[in-house]
Symmetry: C2
Amino acid sequence: MILRSATRPVAHAMSPIICTVDIVLLTLQRGMLHVALLKRDHAPFAGVLALPGGYVHAAEDADARDAAERTLREKTGIVSPYLEQLATFSGLARDPRGWSLSVTYYALVPDDVIAAANRPEVVLVAIDKLRGLPFDHQQIIATAVQRVRDKSAYSSLPVYLCGKCFTLPQLQSVYEAILGEPINKVSFRRKIDELDILEPIEGALEAGKAHRPAQMYRLKPRYGQHLSLTNRALNARS
Amino acid sequence: MILRSATRPVAHAMSPIICTVDIVLLTLQRGMLHVALLKRDHAPFAGVLALPGGYVHAAEDADARDAAERTLREKTGIVSPYLEQLATFSGLARDPRGWSLSVTYYALVPDDVIAAANRPEVVLVAIDKLRGLPFDHQQIIATAVQRVRDKSAYSSLPVYLCGKCFTLPQLQSVYEAILGEPINKVSFRRKIDELDILEPIEGALEAGKAHRPAQMYRLKPRYGQHLSLTNRALNARS
């Protein structure tokens, strides 16, 4: 038993596993979730739109999260305040190069952040218009979208899709877009109060509205990178 | 850019990342969650209690889940009906052998399943009595326990800690042990009804009770490996 165990590290160092990260960067455009894709510049699947991803660099990345932040920054020019590990996809079947493992992350940013990064190679595709993705990227994106939907009902997650300041009706419409259903206004406002994530911006009212301009809000600084959670779904009636 | 990308796979194949799986096998004893540990039989940390884990074997495992199932079976003799990916822990700091990555899973089984596997080397330790674990195993277990608690409030997950048949009061006490608080009986029974996971065992009543023996139930077969979910927490009042 001791002998067998002692030989294993060497045996497996000889058939290394391909270790990568992939990032599902989501944003909202015209009330629909979109994912950021880039054309792959090398084989396999050269020229095909795929998730931003790349190898873990053991010599330079402290951990997989660090690799994901670096990869997202290098490939899209974006540093996302919110980046969460999604799941690890692995096996012999997913990559023609061999047994591979991708630690995947998801991030949410307002679409003006993607525009400001000014990377024309980054393509935003609506999540119901995805076709012909390489590897298991379709499954990775579906897993991310489901996670975002599940989590949004019980947390402040959708706020990361809003800009720096927004009105409560704007925030509600972002929640509705993600959850895919209308939300009762009174119940929504009570739960947003419970989440205790927003602060009014002194003297800032929605521009361009002649009648009853709405108060603008921003995220409290302590929630810049952390979620606030609630026990009762934001789209529930009670 | 193309040249640089083309050289990367080779460069990283020369400094392989250690790919492992670790499994947090949880069970309930005397109303307290316990985790299954084994003494490590080789360096690093030889002789120290640690999670069952091991290398991913690219030549034999179809994917990381397959590696986790094989490792759990080899190390503990157990095939768990429920096994879910928890998270991937990675980096240079967690293993003295170098940059490593562990895809972790958690499983829940009744403690008589562990006893029946008859592996005296498997040690069950209460989760509030864990001391001196190697690597980041303490953090992995804490993450698993939190996941089980979060998920139990909204799903049938705790049923996997029950034996093949059980009464409703027994099931409620399992939920209470995990959630760490008493649950209102009426509300609990209504939500268990909503989950629609149980079927009464024809003619089976709790043994050894002289007065009003309780009906025995079992999990409906279709939930043998899948959870039933509810939108309203099982420990909520409403």
